[in-house]
Symmetry: C2
């Protein structure tokens, strides 16, 4: 099978982790007889350096033309990098937000689970971990406060800033459907998170989610307030299967959930549109402090590549093989520094990629 | 000293926990020779039952006339209580939001710390707990998404809901000043939390906080993005001293922080206006499932009463005495069920209140 992949190294550790994902995909291609063509694109800081802006029309056009986008990570050190001297709309993150919108990537899937092998790295006590946890956060990605109107004005000498949180029923419905579809293939439970005791947008959210739920009689729906959810993720993460929420709440809760697993270097993400097209990136950031040192964990990106095989390229068997190879390497005791514990085999970024590729 | 206290039992466990706080204050009065007059007011569900609305003009007027407000907790079981058949603006929580706004209680202080005696109840592993943690969240309470314009409309047959997040520099400045003042009496560090890579309101927030910081050269200011803060609270809570943030982020982060301590039944809160006036309530909710069973932990409310003595009644010595009595009872091994562990002495709500009162 021939496929075109847009390849975005990005900033910080981005280039070195996505390189390992490509190494693994190369092995997949040779074992399963596929041919992937990679088109390297600029986004974020790398695009600012080359073109003065974090996202160009060319990147959008070429990304759209591909079957999927595989990405490292975007952004630099906000305290020291010259990118952050620019006004907000010209910074690396604006490129990421821009490409999400331009490609209509409204569904952000962020799995967060505990690796049995990494229970030691989990910040939670054994009795809280219990039998472990395995959830996926389905975050709406192209609406809400992120893309509402905003302005900063001065009224009678007093500065004032306004952001707008808006959702319409179509935006809510399509992300809710994604969540229910995913739950159907998992443990059949959707927890929809909102702040319906305060926000109109949350009340509409709740209503539309209930309407969608009617079409999925075998799936249990529960509503949870966002403040309570932030507590429950620490108190009893095992209760969650699929968490469905809007853009800003999803940003906060998915980061909390990923840290709760203790293995943020292991967690993948997919951002999908209405078709099978998607952008795949690790759920962690660009960690500029450890860039270029061969210590970053490439597994989140490698697992994101597995998601790409599954969701965008329809190559389930190959995705399974990548996931199995990751599990095997962990079982054999290989660990990058972020997940290292005594008695394990300390491994660098490139070696980790090679070890996984070899096991496919 | 004679003082007038507005006394709001509230809903769920509210009446039984605030009764224990009053018991402790009665002892304070008899030992230190004060006279507190209590005026009982209705708010939330109790007010709906009596008057059909969650907040009346009378409650506002009488609360304003008092030196401080001592409160239990507001709200019922959203799934089963008839209050939740009413439209949102008529539900118990609307009373709480209404009184915050009517009394101009813009500064919500929520301490979150680990009790040495309760390390076992903390969900975090010993190595994450380290030397423990002791932070206070300073949450803006009368602005942001909570009090912005909102509407639900239908456009060409498509329902749409809009909420508005707005802050002006005066609102930001006064809460920032509170945070810096508090930090000055603590470990001299303010972490201001925002989402400045996305929101205009956060960018103004950051600017104004920086301006305020200039007047506090001995205090270290750091900015943190809200998603990162949600991670750091789990990863390394010991890094925080004072967290300063806007209304919605503060709602989410303070609940997360309180759960991270493992002792949510122990955490007090104060909501202050520009004067010494304030409303004091436990930072936990009304827990209708355990109401009336003499199992609720009254300590959060008792410590809120201590905050009232300190902040609104200028009775520092008396506040110290209450806090010391709580510490002593814990040392002696008394525990309500929520914080019970093997070998401790299991204690009910009323007995816990009496034990603390006796030690003053
Ligand atoms: C970089 C930032 C704009 C982005 C977001 O807030 O969505 C990031 O935190 C994420 O979660 O992908
Ligand atoms: C009950 C609710 C409206 C309230 C809030 O969101 O402020 C509560 O969660 C709190 O934190 O005091």
């Amino acid at each position: 099978m021939k496929r075109n992949i847009a390849y975005i190294p990005g900033d910080g550790i981005g280039p070195e982790i996505v390189r390992e994902a490509k190494k693994v995909l190369d092995k997949v291609c040779s074992v399963y007889g596929h041919e992937f063509h990679y088109e390297e694109l600029l986004l974020g800081g790398a695009s600012i350096d080359a073109h003065g802006v974090p996202l160009t029309e060319e990147t959008i056009k070429k990304a759209k033309a591909a079957d999927a986008v595989l990405m490292g990570s975007i952004g630099g050190d906000a305290k020291t990098s010259p990118w952050y001297q620019l006004e907000p709309s010209k910074r690396p993150e604006a490129g990421l937000l821009g490409i999400r919108k331009a490609l209509n990537l409204f569904a952000n899937l962020r799995p967060a689970y505990l690796y049995d092998e990494l229970r030691k790295a989990c910040p939670l006590k054994e009795e809280v971990i219990g039998d472990g946890f395995d959830m996926i956060i389905v975050r709406e990605l192209t609406g809400g406060l992120y893309f509402g109107e905003r302005k900063t004005v001065e009224e009678n000498g007093v500065r004032k800033a306004v952001d707008t949180l808006s959702y319409n029923e179509e935006e809510i419905r399509r992300i809710a459907i994604k969540a229910f579809e995913i739950a159907g293939k998992r443990r059949k439970k959707v927890t929809s998170v909102d702040k319906a005791n305060v926000l109109d947008s949350s009340r509409l959210w709740r209503k539309v989610v209930e309407e969608v739920a009617k079409n999925y009689p075998d799936i249990t729906l529960e509503h949870m307030l966002v403040d309570n959810c932030a507590m429950q993720l620490v108190h009893n993460p095992g209760q969650f299967d699929v968490i469905l929420t809007e853009n800003m709440f999803g940003d906060i809760l998915s980061d909390e959930a990923s840290m709760v697993t203790g293995s943020i270097g292991m967690l993948s993400s997919a951002s999908l549109n209405e078709t099978s097209f998607g952008l795949y990136e690790p759920s962690h950031g660009s960690a500029p402090d450890i860039a270029g040192k061969d210590v970053a964990n490439p597994i989140a990106t490698i697992l994101s590549a597995a998601m790409m095989l599954r969701f965008s390229l329809d190559l389930d068997k190959e995705a399974d093989a990548v996931e199995a190879a990751v599990a095997q390497v962990l079982e054999e005791g290989y660990r990058t520094p972020d997940i290292y514990s005594e008695g394990m085999k300390k491994t660098g970024t490139a070696q980790m990629g090679s070890l996984i590729a070899e096991r496919i």
